[in-house]
C-alpha cells in the first residue's frame, strides 16, 4: 500500500516536472493570426510532405502575439494580420533583419447567414435595410479588418446611418462568429473567413471593392529568437512558390501586388 502511494507520488512528480512539449530540430513554431487557421493546416501538411520538416502553427490575435514576442515568447516565425506589428518588432531588433515579407493583402466581404432573407448581392446598401439591426465588424481600434470595414462604410457614405447598428468583435473571427451564430444580421468579415470550410456553407458573401478601403497588408517576420531559422526560411520560401501561392489564394490570401478586385461572389 505504502509503496503504491509512493509510486503514484513519483508519477505525479514526473508529470509536474517533465519538460513541456519541446520544439525539435526541423520543427518550427509559427505564431499565426487566427484567420490563417485553415490555410495553414493545409500548408503544414504540404510543407511536411515536401521538405520533411514540420511547422507547428499557434493561432491567436496578432496584438497578443506581439506582446508575447516582446516578452520573449519562443516562436520562430510570426505571421501577423497587420504589417504594423512585424515592423515594430523589426525596429525593436526582435526580428531577423530583412526577413519581413508581405504575404497577403486582406479582403473584406459583406456576409449574411444562409437562412437570412437578406440579399448580400445588394452590397453595402443592404445595411440600411431596417431588417438589419446589428452589423458585426472587428474592433477598429486594434483590428485592421475593423478599420477597413469603417473605411468601406464611409466610402459608401452610410457610416453615420449604420453606426448605431455596429457591434464590435474582439477579432475578425469573433465578428464572424457573431453573425454566423445569427446574433448579428450581417457582418463585414475577412474573405479568408468567408471561404473557410466552417463558414462557407453557412452564409453568402459579397466582396467589397478593394479600392474602397485602405489595403490590409499582412506580413510575416522570422524572429531573432528563432531556434531554427533555416526551417523558418524554408517555410517562407515554400509559401512564395507557385504551389504555396495558389494554396494561400484558395483561402483568400492573395499577394499584395495582385491588387484590385471586383465585386461578386
Amino acid at each position: 500500500m505504502k509503496n503504491q502511494s509512493a509510486l503514484v507520488a513519483m508519477l505525479l512528480a514526473c508529470l509536474c516536472f517533465c519538460p513541456p512539449a519541446v520544439v525539435w530540430a526541423g520543427e518550427i513554431a509559427v505564431a499565426a493570426a487566427s484567420d490563417l487557421t485553415y490555410a495553414f493546416e493545409q500548408a503544414a501538411r504540404r510543407f511536411r510532405q515536401q521538405t520533411g520538416s514540420s511547422m507547428r502553427p499557434i493561432y491567436g490575435s496578432s496584438g497578443n502575439f506581439f506582446s508575447q514576442i516582446k516578452n520573449g515568447a519562443p516562436y520562430d516565425l510570426f505571421f501577423s494580420a497587420d504589417v504594423e506589428y512585424p515592423k515594430r518588432l523589426e525596429m525593436a531588433g526582435l526580428a531577423e533583419p530583412g526577413s519581413l515579407y508581405e504575404y497577403a493583402a486582406g479582403r473584406i466581404v459583406l456576409w449574411v447567414p444562409a437562412n437570412s432573407r437578406l440579399d448580400a448581392g445588394r452590397g453595402l446598401a443592404l445595411l440600411l435595410d431596417p431588417a438589419v439591426r446589428k452589423i458585426a465588424i472587428a474592433n477598429p481600434e486594434h483590428a485592421p479588418y475593423g478599420r477597413a470595414a469603417l473605411a468601406a462604410l464611409r466610402h459608401e457614405g452610410i457610416y453615420d446611418r449604420v453606426k448605431d447598428k455596429l457591434v464590435l468583435g474582439e477579432s475578425i473571427s469573433q465578428a464572424a462568429q457573431f453573425v454566423a451564430s445569427g446574433n448579428a444580421d450581417a457582418g463585414l468579415i475577412a474573405l479568408s473567413l468567408a471561404l473557410a470550410p466552417a463558414m462557407k456553407a453557412r452564409g453568402r458573401y459579397f466582396e467589397i471593392n478593394s479600392t474602397n478601403y485602405p489595403p490590409i497588408i499582412q506580413a510575416a517576420v522570422i524572429l531573432k529568437a528563432a531556434r531554427d531559422k533555416q526551417t523558418a526560411r524554408q517555410f517562407v520560401d515554400f509559401l512564395k512558390q507557385p504551389e504555396g501561392l495558389a494554396l494561400m489564394r484558395r483561402y483568400g490570401f492573395a499577394p499584395p501586388q495582385a491588387g484590385s478586385g471586383g465585386g461578386g461572389n
Binding site: 496584438g63 458585426a136 486594434h142 455596429l166 457591434v167 457573431f178 446574433n183
Partner: protein, 225 residues
Amino acid sequence: MEWSAIFLSVRLALLVCVILLAVGIPIAAWLATSGWRWKFLVEAVVALPIVLPPTVLGFYLLVAMGPASPVGRLYAGFFGHGLAFTFTGLVIASVIYSLPFAVQPMAAAFAQVDRSLLNASAMLGASGLRTFRQIVIPLSRGGIVTGAVLSFAHTLGEFGVVLMVGGNIPGVTRTVSIAIYDHVQALEYNGANAMALLLLAFSFITLSLTYAVNRRMWRVWPLQR
C-alpha cells in the same frame, strides 16, 4: 480614463448585486435548510460558474440568445430584438455568472445559525418566514454582506462572458475590463494602466472593507440582540 466604461461597469455590478440579493437569499435559504436527497445536484449547478471557464458560459449564452434557440426566438418575438449585445443581455449573463459568489457565503451563514434558536422561535408560534426574517437574517448578516460584495466585485471584474456576448458597444456593453483589454490590444499601455490601477485599488478596498466589517473592526450598524 474612460468614464463611460467605468460608470457602465458600476451600474451593471450594482444591478446584478441587487438582483442576486433577491434571487440568492431564497436559493441559499433553501440550500441551507432543505433535506431533499438530490440537493447536491442543485448545489453543483449553482457552483458551476466557479469552475467553468467564461468561454464555455459565454459560448452557451451567445447560442441561447441567438435566433437558433427557442429562448432567443421567444425573447426576440416579445421585444423585437435579440438579447446579445444589449445591456439586459449582460445583466442576465452576469447574474448567472456571479450566482455562486452570492449564494455560497449566504448558504454557509444560514447553515451556521443555531438550530435551537429556530426551534425556540417555532415553539413560540412564529411562522417560518418570521423566524427567517427576525432570527436567521440578522444572525447571517456577515454572510449576506459577503455574498453581496463578492457578487458586486465579481461582476465589476468580469471579462470573458462580456467579451463573448457584449459586442463592445460604448455606453451599452463596453465595460471597464473590455476597455482595458482594448487599450492593451492597441498597445496604449498608459490608458490601460490608469483603468487597471483604478480597478485594482477599488477591488482591494472593497474586499478589505468587507473582511474588516465581518471581523467587527468597526461597528457599521448597531448590534441588536
